[in-house]
Subunit: 242 residues, 2 copies
């Protein structure tokens, strides 16, 4: 399996790729790549390049592009997920890693009424996203919005609001099944303790649909992973089963 590296589009010019410092160190020191080796470089904007290395130094690694493809590893469906920031940062980062692997296109960290933290380390989250993108074979880095309140997201698209309910309206699978196959999807997942009734009602007023993720109380980051997985990996089976 060819190792995948990341270089932003600004490092890719005229058929040549200059790896960013951290990636160069990884290639040269950890993986002991040498001149003539082939690697894959993704640019986080849909560019996928097979690259032959011309120069491998401790601080600089340069190669020539041998082959280019677009949107390798990207899903057909555009899925955005708004996820409340979590008190335990590692749990939020676990969610981010999995969301990227699953193919989410846009991540929106949320401040909600029950959110118990303001802390958001953009640089760290960005690095988790790059690592996950390389690992799973994608070529696009999801858009990462600034943390915002729910009132900022309502107008943007029709959201499915994941909410624990005594008397569930519909499951996320049912709601996804009701949408046109290629419609962009938005999923909203609350913090520990969930959304408040007021937030859910506001969402309903804004055209959102309330959905359940099943009968057990999922941790917030588990709910985010399950929702993303339902939207991206679980297309309803073909109409004529048997």
């Amino acid at each position: 399996m060819t190792t995948t590296f990341y270089a932003p589009p600004s490092s890719i010019r005229g058929g040549h790729v200059v790896l960013p410092e951290a990636e160069a160190r990884h290639a040269a020191a950890s993986l002991r790549k040498t001149t003539g080796d082939e690697i894959v470089v993704v640019d986080g904007e849909g560019g996928w390049h097979r690259v032959r290395l011309n120069h491998v130094g401790r601080e600089q690694v340069v190669g020539s592009i041998v082959e280019t493809k677009r949107d390798v590893g990207e899903p057909e469906r555009e899925v955005a997920i708004g996820m409340a920031l979590l008190k335990q940062r590692s749990r939020f980062e676990t969610f981010v890693e999995k969301a990227v692997e699953l193919g989410v296109a846009c991540l929106v960290p949320l401040h909600t009424e029950r959110t118990e933290t303001d802390s958001f380390r953009r640089e760290r989250v960005h690095n988790v996203m790059i690592a996950a993108m390389k690992q799973c074979g994608r070529s696009r880095l999801p858009a990462l919005a600034s943390p915002q309140s729910l009132s900022g997201v309502w107008g943007e698209r029709r959201w499915l609001i994941c909410h624990e309910q005594a008397d569930p309206e519909r499951t996320v699978t049912q709601a996804l099944h009701d949408l046109p196959a290629e419609a962009p999807i938005g999923l909203l997942v609350g913090p520990e303790g969930g959304f408040t009734e007021q937030e859910v009602n506001d969402g309903r007023d804004a055209g959102g649909r309330v959905v359940t993720l099943g009968p057990r109380r999922l941790r917030a980051e588990t709910a985010g992973i399950v929702a993303a997985s339902a939207a991206l990996l679980m297309p309803p089976p073909d109409p004529a089963p048997s």
Copy 2:
């Protein structure tokens, strides 16, 4: 929301519950429960009890059972999952936590050809399972098998073998859809690097079915979470869609 505690069946006798030491400390010191408070106690074997506290000491907490139910929070479908041990123990434990939340009935840690570790801390995994059971509202602790090789599992049930394939036979959703609604399900997920072709062929010979979890390369623990989620939370939508 009433706080949930765990006490094994041996601590529940004649209408009284004696909380195990760690749970007693948690109730008394962290949550400051006092005599007369009500808590929920699950026994990990399907017993769910509403309990009124009679005695709250630093080292002992005792209560009387007010109400008992069976199998609260347990899914109808019996799902077992065999998951390869992972080099990073925290990633295996993330999987365990999510599998319990999702409703898995049986966890089988696997040694496979590409498994890179022998380390399995049963006590730690057991504690992760208890915490997850209490958190998600289940009353049964999943069975936790001893780590074993694939040859030990084949005869037990018909497994769906999650495997990255160039030319996928079927998705896990399709395969689940083909099974009778109440059939027990077995899912197998490999380590970093996946199962070998030999392992997959052995599984096929033993009656297993090979399934894909989608086009991106999921981390091992993500694959386990996604597979469990597909089996437990994503029933196919009702037959007459429109």
